[in-house]
Amino acid sequence: WDEPLLWEKGQSGRSAFSLPARDVEQFAVESGMEGKGPDFPDLSEPEVVRHYTRLSQWNYGIDAGLYPLGSCTMKYNPKINEAIAALPGFASPHPLLPEQFCQGTLRVMAELERFLAEITGLDAVSLQPAAGAQGELAGMLLIQAYHQARGDSRTKLLVPDTAHGTNPASASLCGYQPVAVASNDQGILSAETVAEFMDEQTAGIMVTNPNTLGLFEENIMAIAEIVHEKGGQVYCDGANMNALFGRVDMRKMGVDVLHLNLHKTFSTPHGGGGPGAGPVCVKQHLEKYLPVPRLMEKQGRFSWSSDAPDSIGRMHGFYGNFGVMVKACCYILSMGAENLQKVSELAVLNANYLKERLKQTLYLPYDRLCMHECVFTDKNQAECHVNTLDIAKRMIDYGFHPPTIYFPLVVQGALMTEPTETETRETLDAYIAAVEAIAKEARTEPELLRQAPTVSRLRRLDETTAARNPCLSG
């Protein structure tokens, strides 16, 4: 059945809000400034509950099944972490409380900073960026501040064709002209190509490692050396850190700055699009540029300091997404070093297993060991005149969320598949069976794919009209 829009429900006179007792008289309001209040629908509490319960039933979450969106690391989100983040001592503190009322929140942040430094091998961390892309921006601003402090104004930034989609936009926000660097026939960057583009007008490079093809940038040390030699800085997009726990040292890789996505790698839920958190980790020479305020410890007491004249400044109204940080901190504490390392082993195991089992069915442009994800394309199905979109939509009919599609752009018709470590072998086998069945259908009954999905409440949606004649509110 359908669930009407909120304002198609309700009747004036209803309310789902329990108005607090009035214990003061009414006071006059300055004439001319008073408004009529927003035109919201009036619903009873049962109506509100039913509305959102029904809406939720049209949604697919990680608790419903496999969610193999490549690059998104849709792993299981532990329930205990939600319960802990909701503790009054974490959910209630006002951000401007005197220090004595928030030592607990500050200690959580201090621990998380230390953990992230340890996990990446870098020296200092700011938890302030509210999401991965804001972390990227922070990283770019840090690099810019670094160059500026040296009186060096650079204009370009190298961005490989296997970088995350936000990277060029983040570079551009910083006024850098992104210079596209092509990956080689192995799907990774070659040092030679980087050397070709790197010059003294170039601020540095943004490397996603493992890259968006799910491949480890094996030449990263040589590349970093080239970049450093020309005075540039190396930024690593750490969104794919789930592949690397306990395996690499970002410092040895030559990384100067890196952001992490707590809502991917560290198991905090994505909430249908956010909030996330995008801490930025740096080597010591960049620490003084980190956003303010900075968390300070003195004899076991924590406080904030904005005394950082070289800082790039503030990026958030307060200190970032504390609620998300709590969950990430819980995750790390639940795991410990050994289990975190195991997370990466199993994430990589799952991805390689899928890759091996499916490469006869879907075209695999780079047939080599992958890391946490693997990228297929629709090339094998082209002769049946079905494409990546058709395959993806048909997966919905089989009860699976589709993988990321048409990204990365470096291959045509990509199906970027990231199972994550929390999926069982049985689930992967069921997914493999579904993909095989779909590939068979592509040959025998391609119309099934083109018409898919059919089991969902809605059929394929007309995105073109939506964009051409946008209707954004009701």
């Binding site: 209040g37 919201f40 949604n59 979450g61 401007l96 921006l137 994505h270 249908g272 072998r425």
Partner: protein, 443 residues
């Protein structure tokens, strides 16, 4: 580990399919030189119970207190239904709705959020949320430069915009050639816009209302002044509940209204996650940053919702995107929508009224107790009071002894305003709380 399902035999069988001898072999592509070569130095894995005990102990280090603090975060009651509905894993554990056929819940909820937000702010459209109020303001100003197709010029901010927001704007504009200029305050606690008349190349003017001192700006007046120039009028807010009582920015000439929506159903959570709200006119939609949900139809002609106008966004337009934002505050936007749905027109207005009346009561009592309220402009649920010199000590004592936080000392942010405190009163503060405060302040 209970989140990791693989048994030894699972691993062995899978390795066999892959043709690898061990999981270590899967990392063969990582050069020796970049390997960490040591175990991470992290605390040993904790059981669920030890974890809970440890985190409860930390949470207990944030004791309950009675605070008269606003200044960007307002402590409102959150109906149990909001919390309960937001626990539904279909909403909480889903990704950005790239596949609309299995994401209609998120999409319709956000479409409804956009609509309620547009209605709340008196504008035509809203995006699907930004990180928080501060970045929403920064993004709004960047948007203004795109609307006016300017690559340089002045960005004029009221100095009574939340100081942190001003700082975030500076950070976002660091890489640009735009010049950030601040307008001073008038004696009544509003922004002095007189300097505007003499300024050239103004690309955008931003004013917050209620402003950082809690005062309502004369938005209509400023709006018509800005309307006579080329500049885009951006209004900002930290307390959207004010629009339950006062006229919304959209009807006062704002081209873009933005700010923090945390008041709408989010717990303070020590400052985040917040909800960046951003509403504007339809004319500017293609310059707007951030995700947006639109209505469309499916192959059978049935109404449905999709993420739309993606051509503005980074994953399509890459370097020429209207913003780099990707993950936003979607879940917070849904929380806000549930909250607004709970209150409805009637509840929202009544709650705003109650905040106002309680605040007026405290102002009245402070005046009666002989305290100075330096700013005459109307306020909503916070205001500035000048307390006797030396009140800092009392302020600290009150906090230490009774757990009462008697407002925010303003001197740190505005050095001229020694002994001035910003006090906030929401519906959670009772008359008895206020009488107690008066007594302590008067002693």
């Amino acid at each position: 580990m209970r989140y990791l399902p693989h048994t030894d035999s699972d691993i062995a069988a899978m390795l066999k399919v892959i043709g690898a001898g061990s999981t270590d072999d899967l990392f063969a592509n990582i050069p020796e030189a970049v390997r960490s070569g040591r175990k991470m130095d992290l605390p040993p894995a904790m059981s669920e119970w030890d974890l809970r005990a440890r985190m409860e102990a930390l949470a207990a280090e944030c004791p309950d207190c009675k605070f008269f603090l606003g200044a960007g975060k307002y402590d409102h009651y959150i109906p149990a239904v909001v919390t309960n509905l937001l626990e539904r894993s279909e909403l909480l554990t889903s990704y950005t709705p790239y596949q609309p056929e299995v994401s209609q819940g998120t999409l319709q909820a956000v479409y409804e959020y956009q609509t309620l937000t547009a209605r709340l702010l008196g504008l035509e459209i809203s995006n699907a949320s930004m990180y928080d109020g501060a970045s929403a303001l920064a993004e709004s100003l960047l948007m203004a430069t795109r609307i006016r197709k300017k690559s340089k010029g002045k960005i004029v901010l009221s100095s009574l915009i939340h100081p942190s927001y001003g700082q975030v704007v500076k950070t976002y504009f660091r890489p640009t050639p735009f010049e950030i200029t601040f307008l001073p305050a008038l004696a009544d606690g509003r922004t002095d816009v007189s300097a505007l008349a003499d300024m050239d190349d103004v690309v955008a003017v931003a004013v917050q209302s209620p402003n950082f001192f809690g005062c309502l700006e004369d938005l209509a007046g400023i709006g018509s002044l800005v309307g006579q120039t080329e500049a885009i009028f951006v209004t900002c807010f930290t307390e959207p509940l004010a629009f339950g009582l006062y006229q919304p920015p959209g009807t006062q000439g704002a081209a873009i209204a933005c700010g923090e929506g945390g008041s709408l159903g989010l717990p303070p959570a020590y400052g985040g996650p917040g909800l960046g709200m951003l509403a504007t006119k339809m004319d500017y939609v293609r310059r707007m940053p951030g995700r947006v949900v639109g209505k469309t139809t499916d192959a059978n002609g049935k109404e449905g919702f999709v993420l739309t106008l993606a051509t503005r966004e980074q994953h399509i337009r890459r370097a020429r995107a209207t913003s780099n934002i990707c993950t936003n505050s979607n879940f917070c936007a849904i929380a806000a929508a549930v909250y607004m749905a709970c209150l409805g027109k009637i509840g929202f207005r009544e709650l705003a009224r109650l905040n106002y009346d309680k605040t007026e009561y405290l102002k009245q009592q402070l005046r009666r107790a002989g305290m100075a309220l330096p700013f005459g402009a109307p306020t909503f649920n916070e205001f500035v009071v000048k307390l006797p010199p030396g009140f800092e000590r009392k302020h600290a004592e009150l906090a230490a002894s009774s757990g009462i936080v008697a407002g925010l000392p303003l001197a740190e942010w505005y050095p001229d305003l020694a002994d001035h405190y910003l006090l906030c009163v929401t519906e959670k503060i009772t008359r008895a709380d206020m009488d107690h405060l008066i007594k302590e302040v008067s002693e």
